[in-house]
Structure formats: structure tokens, C-alpha cells
């Protein structure tokens, strides 16, 4: 059995003292920022990119991945106890979770969220282990034309599933692609868009632009919002859900896990979309749906399983194709590139220790989270009392040190300042930053594949339509755009994403 020997290799990497430590740090840090509103996994991963440079690549990826799924656990804690979703992916958990807390059943709600997440985590880990190798084998057959069309399709799908105006999101993708091209052209050696600045010879630093947009710009934006003081509820009740609770939730957990796992793989998917979809489906499918909204335990189980499953399966396209489905995955690709590893299907064959070690660490991290989280709930809740006025200078300081230390260049700090201003203006104009970051990561790869595809076809653009796989991707992308242009569907999408 290949899977077993591969997972064996993975555990031999993940179970070294060093990597267990980084897994634990990642999971705990993830829970911490999951609990704190106003700082999310994207910001945290961006802030840790420079630090991860000093670690071996295996440890770096394990640490960063832990933050992403750890945040899913942490986000639900505050959603249930204080009605504040620590993460966007826990927004729906507040509906039934907090209602349960008000009825004195906070304990079982937390318990079922943790159990559901753990089950989803195990299932998703297994799914990655099973699905990734065949996918990577297929991807290895892709030529430049297929890759180019896959990227077009991935970017379009990510945009369709994003919130807000479609036109703005596409424009942000194109702008991101352009920004990704800044710097020395690998083929001709020409210096592009450097406007006479030597600091831009290697392009815009990924760490600087991502921290600017997800760190600094968000801080400035949050400073305007009113910080309402929230009350913490009293007793937790019994933490472990009763047998009846578990029995009632089994179906919801299974459905949430399945739906989340599928939605996580899609570009633009991940934890956020998964939790919303799971709650909506659960309301339709479950018996006695009227209890939803007034403290139904199934309304906690389904979205919490789904967001954890989605968080983990979104690693599949990142690991096998080198294509990021959401901004956090773009950060992970950035982390790989900082270590000089080209993301794509070869990661699995060239660095099996990294690949399988990361997967094994996800299961390990989920186990740690279940064991540690419930006893630590009290501490997490107390952390909520940290006011934002103390938190945001910390974010700014870490971003600045990170931007400076990545290359020891003050120039990157100035770049960060510039893009912070841009990011704030974009937020104000309701231009979502996620498509920009995805485009930024894919820009150079996209140009390279376009160039190679057209070189092979001697300049004939029909090559993208003649290769069947490439054609399929392009038809899919065009189909998505057409569907979105139909007004009736557009309105439904807006409703579905609003909630």
C-alpha cells in the first residue's frame, strides 16, 4: 500500500521533536488569532513568512499550516461564547452556537464544534493523502497550454466565488498579474516597471505586499470601526456533549465534512464558503428545521465540520498544482518560493518528506487542538479582553520587522507603506484584495506558460483551443463568466454570500 508507506514517511518527519513543537506552536498561535477578532490567519501567516525563512522548509510549512486550521478551532470558541466570530468562517456558528450558550449549553456546543472539527480534520487529511498523488500524476502531464488555461480557469473561479462586484474583482486579478511582473524578466533580462528604482530589480517583495494589504491596511480600516464592548457569558456547562447530542449530530457532521471537503478544493473556496454552504444545506435537509436559529446543536456541528474540512482540502490544489485557491494558500506558495521550492506537481516527487510530513502534521495538529482546546477555553476567553488599541500596534511592529528582515532592505518597508495606502483605498472602494494576491502569485508563472505555449505553436493562439484539456478549462471559465452575467443567478449569489 502506497498510501500507508507514504503516511509512514510523513509521520517520521512530523514526529520529530522539532516538528511536533512547530506544529504545536502553529496550532496554538492559530487558535489565539482565531479567538482575537481583527486579526486573521492571512495576516498571521504573512507576518510569520519572514520567520519561516529561518526554519527548514518542512518545519516552516507545518507551522504555517497549523495557523490556518488552528484558526478554525479558535474562531468557533468566541463565536459560541461571546457572539463574536473570531474568523469570518465562524460567522454562521454564532447563530445557533451563541443561542446554545445563552441557554447554558455552551459546553456541549464547544464540545461538538471540536469533535466535528476533529472528525472533519481526519477525513480531510485522509482525502488529501488519497487524492493528491493521482492529481499530481495528471498534472505532471500538463504542457504549458494546459497550465495557462488552468490558471485562467482558477482565477476566474476564484473571482466568481468572491464577494462584491465581478468587474472589480477581475480588474483586481489583472492588476495583481501586472504587479507580479515587476522586476527583471527572466527570459530577456529586461528590467520592467522599476521606474529607476534598484530596489525593484527582483520585483515587488511578496511578503511586503501581503503584509501591507492584510496587515497594515486592515488595521487602518479597523481603526474606524466602532469597538463595541461585549459581555462574556458565565458558566460553560458540561463540556462533553451527551450521547444523544452526538447521535443527533452525526449526520450533520458527515454532511458538513463532505460538503466542506468538496468546496475546499474549488478555487475561491476554503473555510469561509464551506461553513456558509453547510449551514444552508443543513437547514434544508435536517428534520425539524424550525429549531435552527434558536440553539440547534446541528447548526454548530455542520458549519464547524465544514470549515475545518474546507481549510484542509484547500491544500490539495496548492500542493498538487501549485495553484492557490485562497489568499492563505497564496501565502503558503510564497513560503515555498522563499525556500527556493518551485510549487507544482513536482513537490510531491522531489520532496516527499515535505509533502507527506505536512499532511501527517495536519492530523497531528488536529489531535492536539482537540485535546488542548477544551481545557484552555477559559484562557482564550480571557484573551478577548485584550483591547484592539493594544493589539494593532503589535501587528504594525511585526509587519515592519518582517518586511525589513526578509531581505534586510529598508526599501521593502517603503514598498509596504505604499501598498498599505493602496490597500486601504481599495478596501474603501470595495475592491476585494484576495484576487489581487492570487494574481500577484500567478503573474510570472502565467506569463512563462503563455510564452512557452505560443513558442511551441509558433505564435498560433488556437493552441489553447486545440488541446482538449486546455479547451475544457477555458470552456469552464467562460461558462462561469456567462452564468454570473445572468441577472437572476447574480442576485442569488449576492444573497447567498451576504447572509
Amino acid at each position: 500500500m502506497d498510501v500507508i508507506s507514504n503516511l509512514g514517511l510523513g509521520f517520521s518527519v512530523a514526529l520529530t521533536i522539532q516538528n511536533i513543537t512547530y506544529c504545536l506552536i502553529g496550532a496554538l498561535l492559530g487558535t489565539l488569532i482565531g479567538v482575537l477578532p481583527g486579526i486573521g490567519p492571512v495576516t498571521t501567516v504573512a507576518m510569520l513568512l519572514p520567520i519561516s525563512f529561518t526554519l527548514p522548509p518542512e518545519s516552516a510549512m507545518i507551522l504555517l499550516a497549523g495557523i490556518y486550521y488552528g484558526a478554525q478551532y479558535g474562531g468557533s470558541t468566541t463565536a459560541i461564547l461571546v457572539n463574536i466570530p473570531g474568523e469570518a468562517s465562524s460567522v454562521v456558528t454564532t447563530i445557533d452556537g451563541h443561542a446554545m450558550a445563552r441557554q447554558g449549553r455552551a459546553g456541549p456546543a464547544l464540545g461538538i464544534a471540536a469533535l466535528g472539527s476533529f472528525f472533519a480534520g481526519c477525513a480531510a487529511t485522509l482525502l488529501i493523502a488519497l487524492a493528491a498523488p493521482p492529481l499530481a500524476t495528471i498534472a505532471l502531464q500538463f504542457g504549458p497550454a494546459e497550465y495557462f488555461s488552468l490558471m485562467v480557469c482558477g482565477l476566474i473561479a476564484a473571482v466568481v466565488l468572491a464577494r462584491g462586484s465581478l468587474l472589480k474583482a477581475i480588474a483586481m486579478v489583472v492588476l495583481g498579474l501586472l504587479l507580479g511582473l515587476v522586476g527583471t524578466d527572466v527570459n530577456s533580462g529586461a528590467r520592467r516597471f522599476n521606474f529607476g528604482m534598484t530596489g525593484l530589480a527582483d520585483g515587488i517583495e511578496f511578503v511586503a505586499i501581503s503584509m501591507a494589504i492584510y496587515g497594515i491596511a486592515e488595521v487602518v480600516y479597523n481603526l474606524e470601526q466602532k469597538q463595541a464592548a461585549k459581555m462574556v457569558t458565565g458558566a460553560l456547562g458540561r463540556v462533553w456533549p451527551s450521547f444523544a447530542d452526538v447521535k443527533q449530530c452525526a449526520g450533520s457532521i458527515l454532511r458538513g465534512t463532505g460538503l466542506g471537503a468538496i468546496l475546499g478544493v474549488l478555487p475561491g473556496g476554503g473555510a469561509l464558503l464551506a461553513s456558509f454552504a453547510a449551514y444552508t444545506v443543513e437547514k434544508k435537509v435536517a428534520s425539524a428545521p424550525r429549531q435552527f436559529g434558536s440553539g440547534d446543536i446541528r447548526g454548530v456541528a455542520a458549519p464547524e465540520s465544514a470549515n475545518n474540512a474546507g481549510a484542509q482540502t484547500s491544500f490539495i490544489p496548492m500542493l498538487t498544482l501549485g495553484i492557490p485557491g485562497n489568499p492563505t494558500m497564496a501565502m503558503m506558495i510564497g513560503a515555498l518560493m522563499i525556500h527556493g521550492i518551485a510549487p507544482g506537481p513536482r513537490v510531491m516527487t522531489d520532496r516527499p518528506g515535505l509533502f507527506w510530513g505536512l499532511i501527517a502534521s495536519m492530523w497531528l495538529g488536529n489531535l492536539m487542538l482537540v485535546v488542548l482546546n477544551l481545557p484552555l477555553v477559559g484562557i482564550w476567553v480571557r484573551l478577548l479582553r485584550v483591547p484592539y488599541r493594544l493589539l494593532y500596534p503589535v501587528i504594525i511592529v511585526f509587519c515592519c520587522i518582517g518586511a525589513y528582515t526578509i531581505n534586510n532592505k529598508a526599501f521593502d518597508v517603503f514598498v509596504m507603506s505604499f501598498f498599505a495606502i493602496f490597500g486601504y483605498v481599495a478596501l474603501k472602494l470595495e475592491c476585494e484584495p484576495a484576487p489581487l494576491i492570487l494574481g500577484f502569485v500567478l503573474g510570472p508563472m502565467m506569463e512563462e506558460n503563455l510564452r512557452r505555449a505560443l513558442l511551441i505553436s509558433r505564435g498560433d493562439p488556437m493552441v489553447f483551443l486545440q488541446e482538449p484539456i486546455s479547451l475544457a478549462f477555458l470552456v469552464l471559465a467562460a461558462g462561469l463568466l456567462v452564468v454570473m452575467a445572468v441577472p437572476a443567478i447574480r442576485i442569488r449569489r449576492e444573497e447567498a454570500l451576504k447572509e
Binding site: 468587474l167 511582473l181 520592467r192 500596534p393 517603503f414 495606502i421 505560443l454 505564435g459
Partner: protein, 148 residues
């Protein structure tokens, strides 16, 4: 002619401005042909597309209604952006400790509830943490004090 969707309109203006800068710069790079792309080919393609998208947004904002732009809070943005640039300017000549102190105090000052004593304590704690973690634990090459 009335702008009905200011958010869309100004987004369009922003995208067109980026496209114009990119087009202007990309004109200097050799285009090549589709089969042998020069460094200017793909940027020119993207910049034209961006310009078209920006123009479409501006055009639509005249036809279809939309939300007004919320007021920009210029002061926090300006102070924080300046503080970050100052950090970049100061870190090499004055070292980590001084530049962190300046950055923390300036950032905290611009928030709604500034308290001097608390900020000084926060700055001290942050400096201790950063020196401990980044300089001693991770061994990053950062000057602590002004270099003479």
C-alpha cells in the same frame, strides 16, 4: 452626465491610472511577436485589459446606480504610513530599539483611545519581545543601538 455609482467610478479611475502607468512604461520594452514574446508583450496585453475594465467600470457607474464612497480617514492612514517609512529610515542608522519605540508610539497615538503610560509600557514590552525573539532566538542581523 451624472456619476450614479461613485464607488465604481473611482475604482475605475484607479484601475485606469494603473493601466496608464503600465502602458506608458511597457511601450519602452520590445514587443516581439506572439511566437517569440518580448518582455513587453504580456504586460501590454494586461495593461490594455486593465484599462478596458477600468473604463467599463466608469461607464457603468454613469448608467447604473450604486453606493457613495465612505469618508476616507486620512489622519490614521497618513500617520501610520509615515511611521512605517520612518521605521525604514531609522532602523539602519539608529538601530532596532529607537526605531521600534518611534513606530509603536506613533501608531498608538493615532488610535482613538491613546493613553501615554499604557503606550510606554506596550512599547517597552514589544522592544523586549522583539529583541529576545528576533535578535537572540532567531539570530536575525539587526542593530540594537545607533551605529557610530
Amino acid at each position: 452626465m451624472r456619476i450614479r455609482a461613485p464607488k465604481d467610478f473611482w475604482s475605475g479611475v484607479m484601475f485606469c491610472a494603473f493601466a496608464a502607468v503600465a502602458l506608458f512604461a511597457a511601450c519602452g520594452y520590445s514587443m516581439g511577436s506572439a511566437g517569440r514574446m518580448g518582455p513587453g508583450y504580456f504586460p501590454l496585453l494586461l495593461a490594455s485589459l486593465l484599462g478596458a475594465l477600468g473604463a467599463a467600470l466608469m461607464g457603468r457607474s454613469i448608467l447604473v446606480g450604486g453606493e457613495p464612497v465612505a469618508r476616507l480617514q486620512v489622519l490614521p492612514l497618513a500617520v501610520i504610513a509615515t511611521a512605517i517609512c520612518l521605521f525604514g529610515l531609522l532602523i539602519e542608522p539608529l538601530g532596532l530599539i529607537v526605531s521600534l519605540a518611534v513606530l509603536t508610539v506613533m501608531s498608538a497615538w493615532v488610535g482613538a483611545q491613546f493613553r501615554l503610560a499604557e503606550t510606554v509600557a506596550l512599547a517597552a514590552a514589544l522592544i523586549l519581545f522583539c529583541v529576545g525573539v528576533f535578535v537572540y532566538a532567531l539570530g536575525l542581523p539587526l542593530n540594537l543601538w545607533p551605529s557610530m
